[in-house]
Amino acid sequence: MNRRTATAAGLTGRYLLLAAMTVVSLGPFAWQLLTSLKGAQEPIYGADATWLPHHPTLANYAAVADTLPVWRYITNSLIVACASVLTNCLFGAMAGYALARMRFRGRGVVFAAVTAALIVPFEVIMVSVFLTVRDIGLVDNLLGVLLPGAVSGLSILVMRTGFLALPKETEEAAVMDGAGEWARFRRIALPSVRGSLAVVAVFSFLFAWDDFLWPLIVLKSPDNYTLTIGLQYLSGTFTNDQRVVAAGTMIAVLPLIIIFLGLQRLFFRGVGEGGVKG
């Protein structure tokens, strides 16, 4: 009896805590979503503002589409983000596999360099990276936006950890069967780290999609802007309609939610992949 009440109390407490966390993390998002649906005459600040829109409308979304070429910017963002997912998964896996499985001179140095690259904030090297991109002739080009983040140190480290967790025996067996390094990588190792690949995919998509400063610096003509820069047009020097800004934010967040939901199961497997498995 006593024990059961204790459990019930514990359970109630736990759920209360979870509910509070949900409110804290989802509250601002819900507020943005509801603000984006409010009509022009509704107050959005102060005591008069209500949670639910009184005159729900999609006009703010239409205003976003009127203000900027949304589809064009979404396409640009998708190009960069998808390319970034591909390069990070491919080259991240190759580099990660090399660091995890192959023995070569200077492996420790390479690993240290990759780790060190994680620590350097991008702002510090931004000017020199930009000079490099300029000299290659990729200013105002989406390729210039992609290149510096094409293989991030994080992707390499995640993939390396994923490969290290694989049992060596399988690959040794493959060596017996006469499989070369390339075949072992493609046929044996890569299919076993799908979870880690999902983690790399989600993160590289997220970073590329959300990046603001670097695309802003590389891109010159408005036609090439990505969505994060394009959305800045919604809050200029003389306008700042929070309802339209909120609508723009929702448009920007939607693809991230879709990607995450799509890869959710693989993603959580990947987060646990670092652990020992049979």
Binding site: I44, Y45, M126, L216, F238
Partner: protein, 434 residues
């Protein structure tokens, strides 16, 4: 964000130190910084600051007229959003990839001006100098360096907006907005008492207003040769003491201590504060987000101190030395900033032209429609003649952060106002000496 800025500034400085001048070798500028005359043909790029898409029609119209008047000339317009603009301009300046005509405010321009990124327009466009409001022209000079680096473009000056409802609730006359800083503080106390925490008198927006308030109160911010900060005077201490007393008697909301003008705009839009000193262009922002508050807004002149000119914000047009076609770029900058084009611009939005001739237009004197906008326009046009950019260019982001940290401690009551000002001046001087 602030730390990131520092890092960036440090890198930029390093890049400059290592490359000598940082502009690369491909700059076509003549050694003495003169723009050679040549044919007004070719292609240039014009970069504005956060004007798209609201002013698409206006800007494209000006460009079309310019191109029609100069056959063979082509102007490409790009617009840079405000967020990240400083990083973008700094990086572009180092790489020599700035646009041919760049729209900057003095705060963004100052560091680059000192590094010699731009043409001296006092030397190259002296003919148009007399057409501009003097205070606006001076905003783009560098202390201790000859020359001026921009043609002034549009201006705004602060007016004082008041929430008439809250004035009535506090038993004050809504037809009489405060005229001086002291009056504003006195009225703010009464309003806060009446509000009992539901609404307050004034949002301090220390980050934006503290230093200009001191200037308005006649406090000398810098010494004559601009080598030392000097704002630790008894007048400044008295003003800071007043702010502290208000804060401690809860006449200012506790979380407003560290907030800036953007938050003050929100507080005013939410009906939480009655007095809102701000550029008149924010009337439109208030109107978009809180139509009822905007209707109930009364407008008065900029809060005055005991001495000193009213404050103004300036935008300028600059021509980088990296421009491939500086002659055409300068001609275009002159065209954009001429009296006729600026007047047309001012008629679309609550700004002021920087050309003295445009200011005499009836548009700036007629208030018969009774809107807060026309009242604001008239007040702004009247005060612009004597207005100056009160924020010294030396008051950069780092200095501001160092000074504000001390001021906030004093307002909170953790540091005696006099001591806080002394320490702020000492820290600011260390930064100035660098």
């Amino acid at each position: 964000m602030r730390t990131r800025r520092w890092l960036l500034a440090a890198t930029a400085a390093l890049a400059l130190a290592t490359t000598g001048c940082g502009l690369g070798n491909d700059e076509p500028a003549t050694a003495n910084g003169d723009i050679n005359s040549g044919e007004l043909k070719g292609e240039i790029t014009f970069a504005t600051l956060a004007l798209k898409p609201t002013f698409d029609e206006y800007i494209n119209g000006v460009i079309a007229k310019f191109e029609a008047a100069h056959p063979g000339a082509k102007v490409n317009w790009v617009d840079v959003p405000f967020q990240g603009a400083q990083e973008k301009f700094t990086t572009d300046a180092q790489a020599g990839t700035l646009a041919d005509v760049v729209n900057l405010n003095p705060n963004f321009a100052q560091k680059l001006e000192r590094q010699g990124v731009f043409y001296d327009l006092a030397a190259n466009a002296g003919d148009v100098k007399p057409t501009f409001v003097p205070g606006a022209w001076d905003a783009f000079t560098v202390p201790g360096q000859p020359g001026a680096y921009a043609l002034p473009w549009y201006l705004t000056t602060e007016v004082t907006m008041i929430n008439k409802d809250l004035y009535v609730k506090a038993g004050l006359d809504p037809a009489k907005p405060p005229a001086t800083i002291d009056e504003a503080l006195e009225q703010a106390k009464k309003i806060s008492q009446a509000g009992k925490g539901a609404f307050y008198g004034i949002h301090p927006a220390l980050e934006n207003r503290f230093i200009t308030d001191l200037a308005r109160l006649g406090v000398p911010l810098l010494n004559a040769d601009q080598t030392q900060w000097t704002f630790n005077t008894p007048e400044a201490a008295a003003y800071l003491t007043k702010l502290r007393d208000m804060y401690q008697s809860k006449a200012i909301a506790p979380d407003w201590l560290t907030q800036n003008h953007a938050k003050a705009t929100e507080a005013y839009s939410a009906g939480q504060t009655a007095i809102f000193p701000s550029g008149a262009n924010f009337l439109k922002v208030v109107k978009q987000n809180a139509p009822k508050i905007a209707e109930n807004t009364g407008v008065g002149p900029q809060l005055a101190g005991t001495a000193g000119a009213p404050n103004m914000s300036v935008m300028g047009l600059l021509v980088p030395k990296a421009s491939k076609n500086p002659h055409l770029a300068l001609e275009f900058a002159k065209y954009v900033s001429n009296a006729e084009n600026q007047l047309a611009f001012a008629k679309i939005v609550t700004i002021l032209p920087s050309t003295t001739a445009s200011l005499t237009d009836p548009y700036f004197t007629d208030t018969s429609d009774g809107t807060p906008e026309s009242a604001a326009r008239k007040i702004m046009a009247e005060q612009i003649a004597t207005a100056k950019n009160l924020t010294p260019v030396q008051f950069d982001d780092r200095t501001k952060a160092a000074v504000l940290a001390k001021i906030q401690l004093a307002v909170k009551g953790d540091l005696d106002p006099k001591t806080a000002l002394d320490q702020a001046v000492a820290e600011a001087n260390t930064l100035l000496a660098k």
